[in-house]
Symmetry: C2
Subunit: 202 residues, 2 copies
């Protein structure tokens, strides 16, 4: 027979234990922000609530009407990899980067002539994972969910791009571990510097 006093103590201990588990778990097990299913990447969601790192633009009118990437590219990093980048200046195993693409919409506004985001037209991902991509250069793989030529929907799942399609250019020209950090001042500011990472500090 368990005394009531003991029973209450067990309840208290259980609650304290549960609390401890809830707050301690994330630092013990790294969370991944991607899912591979039957060899394909499942289209990610929730990335607009991750960390934005920049938005390069190489519009048609700067590339004789034939830009390879004519859209705005809004780029995000998953929150746990951001924390790791802030602390260490390295992309952790499991890093997920998302590139969401918007057509150039309006080219004129009260603020001036230029480029304003139009409709969504594509979604790409880059993931570093030794477990999933042991044979890719530095374990980075590249994915596209974009459906040309209409760009009116996205694939549900997608295979990794052939290595030659993306990796060679990233390997040759990207500043840090296959990522073009040189075009992302937010990543440059945040590199191993949690103080500068969050903004408002120069």
């Amino acid at each position: 027979m368990i005394h009531k006093k003991s029973a209450n103590s067990i309840i208290v201990a259980s609650i304290v234990g549960l609390l401890f588990s809830i707050f301690a778990l994330p630092s013990v097990f790294s969370k991944e922000y991607f899912t591979i299913k039957n060899g394909e990447l499942v289209r990610p969601s929730g990335y607009r609530e991750w960390i934005y790192v920049g938005a390069p633009l190489t519009p048609h009118d700067k590339n004789n009407g034939k830009a390879n990437f004519p859209e705005f590219h809004s780029v995000y990093i998953d929150p746990e990899s951001w924390e790791h980048w802030k602390k260490t200046g390295e992309f952790r195993d499991g890093t997920t980067l998302i590139k969401e693409m918007n057509l150039v919409g309006s080219t004129s506004a009260p603020s001036g002539e230029g480029y304003f985001m139009g409709r969504f037209v594509g979604l790409e991902a880059t993931i570093k994972s030794k477990r999933e991509f042991p044979n890719e250069p530095d374990n980075w793989a590249y994915f596209s969910f974009t459906v040309p030529p209409e760009h009116k929907s996205l694939k549900q799942t997608t295979k990794a791009e052939p290595t030659a399609n993306c990796s060679a250019c990233h390997e040759k020209s990207a500043k840090h571990d296959f990522v073009f950090t040189q075009y992302y001042p937010i990543l440059e500011a945040a590199k191993a510097d949690p103080h500068k990472a969050v903004g408002g500090v120069w």
Copy 2:
């Protein structure tokens, strides 16, 4: 005298109560992401970990070398106002929007000719608060921490801009409650639609 059994019950009840408070509080008290001190806005920090909504660009080369806003404008909304926007399609009292400005840096990359972000050159904020700005149109006030002409530092605190400097243009041309949502497809997608808000769903 309190019996041990009662004492233990009180401990259990307290822990349960504390747990409840921790998780219930955010929905009871709205959090604000700005601080007004001696009539000036304190320079915000942490906004790069808020929600990114878009990055318009009106570069010099599209405005005869004399653009009013020649930089990339990365725009963020505070997390609680984002939640409110997703649920209601309205900007809550207390909404804080941040505009961080980067010079155009490189104009050529392996991906093509265009515009890539360079160094940070400015920081602005727009805040809607009936308590703080009862006399501003729809309670929106506009702030700049930018220090021209060098753009090498930011002000620590800053006064609201005179109403005529910003508000008139926002009132006339912004699509929704003084905000130019027409140039921010992320806001348009998220308007009262939590499902589409997070991305990956068209």
